[in-house]
Subunit: 419 residues, 2 copies
């Protein structure tokens, strides 16, 4: 039976007594503060000229790949083949030197705040029963990449696999060698013109070119612009945004796009709709690098929200050789933070109890270097694990559908409440 | 060891002897035929004025919902509440009459080629211990929808749930009542301004407006335009496309977008990246209804490819009350069809053996009305189940990365080879 207690609601979404709305200052005051912040970000300083392995005298000990133009990829392959030919003609045989991508060869560099590869390599000779297959696959992948260079087209990993199923046998084999080839050539996977399916969308105060077409992201309706799978054909970024709002999930993105939040507070809104894909990570990095504005993250208040934030910020372990190109430094954790639950009076029934697995994931995160180096994050995560409560961004709808765009976010911006 | 047999490939992607390329006629010849086809489609005939329940004298026996403008939704809710108030005041109490959405109340209508709801309803009285909770939820959802009408904004199902977690308890309950409310009011779920997350993208010869912004889909680079989640703010469709190419998966979409296939053969390319979501289904239907051009489907040659085609064509069972608005009639199965595997010499190693589950799904499909009514489809499906072989669209990459856009599709169009 529906008893009275059950039907009592924490706040009537229609009433004027929307929690914290009265604390909001005029938009002009908030904008003033945001402008100062964006200006600070774009002035040349240590934060905009990030450290490299060379600055740390680690270039010898560590290995990273970089974006190369297609012509360089082509000539690097040709030089490699030439040196292999010399080796064969001089009686040394055919052998690739392949950087190790195993976790034993990975290193978290606190100064860079990301995972990089150490310098261990191994030989992959053709004249050896245990490596002849992998050597053959490596040569074939190099040949296919060389074809892509000549034709100047992009393909997916799946396409690559299907060009020679008999040799590759299954896609994990061609995928793994593709990563090897990135490391061998010293370039990113996107430089090889092998792309991942796109998932993300972007909307807001941004104009950019996608494959030669000029895109105005303030004129993309509610659907937004699909983030292109090939970052090398993205360019000409122009923007008057004061910050980038990185949103974990679709529902919050839709709310902000429909309300054209970016017109009230000039910003670029971007989401990968859950787990970050390579295309969205590359796009975010390019946005931050070119526009030099802060990145504020809006994620669920649960361990996975923080984990997603960390993938954007510090990279994933299986692509650590490419961390310099895939990661966006200095992402701020705007919300929903565990401390927000009480601060914004999120009703008890909109909070969810954490499962055993959630709690374990939270505790594991507390051991990660990228969390440890940010005391504010540690404190929040400790609170989450202690209270055993989580909440989605959507929980704010309990105060009205537009509470997110009309009160919560403006208030967060006003208070510069991020970590 | 890599023996010679393993490394022999079915065709060298670089050679001029690309299979079937020689059979291709000049594009002008193919375009001529496509123009005739598009013209036939747009002349007024039975196919463009599809049958309705009323034509079949089934309006009494069956129930369907329709798109209503927001103001009508609002006034329908207000009339309903007024009649409920009268009922209470006259001593009859509060009770909703709710159409049954169970499978026992569903009917496949061959003339319409879709599933519809029969007319069974049940009463949901407040003064009954077994229904009081659901009655309360129904009233609350009606109130929330009324709010959306007044504010003219869109929300997701998740947002709706979070406005009253204490009452709804879990999202399946608010979702189910939301479908009930659609049926009670006789309007589609998108008319209620409750939207699903968007997934699809569109590119090609199409201009349309999204929430007031004019979008030119020939100028959307490789990423394309994200399909808007709210179809009611999509309009002003203009196009010189001769057909719509409905693509199952992302990888094929990317290939066609990069090659700007739509410039060689004027078309609109659309994909939901796998399982069709509501937004993409609504968008496809609107495209077909407004532009009156054929829809050609490019899906994997496996039971799921055909199943996806059927969801676009005939609807899914759990939203059968809305089938008239969600389905696109007369979608042609272009490929990859089971008979294509031999016809186009798809190499053995690029075909995959069907699993037991695949074969069962295939056999189940053979029993479905929408397959049975198309003898060509039955024949193809029988061949698939008999040969126990499946293949992805990507399997065409074995003849070169651009074989799909440069040979396979043009040849299919030239031969008008669809079912």
């Amino acid at each position: 039976m529906a008893d009275k207690k059950k039907r009592r609601r924490p706040a009537d979404p229609d009433s004027d007594s929307i929690p914290f709305k009265s604390r909001l200052k005029p938009d002009s005051v908030i904008l003033q503060a945001l402008k100062a912040l964006a200006a600070a970000e774009s002035t040349p300083s240590a934060s905009t000229n990030p450290l490299t392995l060379a600055d740390l005298s680690l270039s010898q000990a560590c290995r990273e790949v970089s974006d190369l133009p297609l012509s360089s990829v082509q000539s690097t392959i040709e030089s490699l083949v030439l040196s292999l030919t010399h080796s064969i003609l001089s009686g040394q045989g055919l052998s690739f030197s392949v950087p190790s991508r195993s976790s034993a060869n990975q290193l978290y560099v606190p100064e860079l705040d990301r995972i990089v590869l150490k310098d261990k390599s191994s030989l992959r000779p053709y004249a050896n029963v245990s490596t002849v297959r992998k050597t053959t696959i490596t040569a074939r992948i190099l040949q296919l990449i060389h074809q892509l260079c000549l034709k100047n087209i992009h393909v997916t990993k799946r396409d690559l696999f299907y060009t020679d199923v008999k040799l590759f046998q299954d896609q994990t084999q061609s995928d793994a060698v593709l990563d090897d080839v990135s490391c061998i050539l010293g370039c990113t996977r996107s430089s090889l013109n092998v792309i991942a399916a796109e998932k993300g969308v972007v909307v807001g105060r941004l104009i950019f070119s996608d494959n030669g077409d000029l895109i105005d992201c303030t004129k993309m309706g509610m659907g937004g612009k699909a983030i292109p799978p090939n970052i090398d054909r993205v360019g000409d970024m122009q923007s008057d945004a004061l910050f980038i709002l990185l949103v974990e999930k679709d529902a919050a993105y839709i709310r902000l796009a429909e309300d054209r939040f970016y017109n009230r507070f000039p910003c670029i809104i971007i989401t990968a709709k859950g787990q970050p894909d390579v295309a969205t990570r590359l796009f975010l990095r390019k946005l931050k690098t070119e526009l030099k504005v802060p990145v504020l993250a809006l994620v669920d208040s649960d361990p996975y929200g923080l984990k997603i934030l960390s993938v954007y910020g510090c990279g994933s372990k299986n692509m650590s050789y490419d961390s310099a190109n895939l990661t966006t430094p200095d992402i701020k954790w705007l919300g929903i933070r565990p401390s927000d639950l009480d601060k914004y009076n999120i009703p008890e029934q909109c909070r969810l109890p954490m499962t055993e697995q959630d709690i374990k994931t939270g505790k594991d995160l507390l051991e990660e270097d990228f969390v440890k180096k940010n005391p504010g994050w540690v404190e929040e995560l400790n609170l989450m694990v202690k209270t055993k409560q989580k909440a989605e961004i959507q929980a704010l709808s309990s105060f009205g559908f537009q509470y997110l765009s009309e009160v919560y976010l403006p208030l967060k911006l006003q208070q510069e409440d991020w970590l």
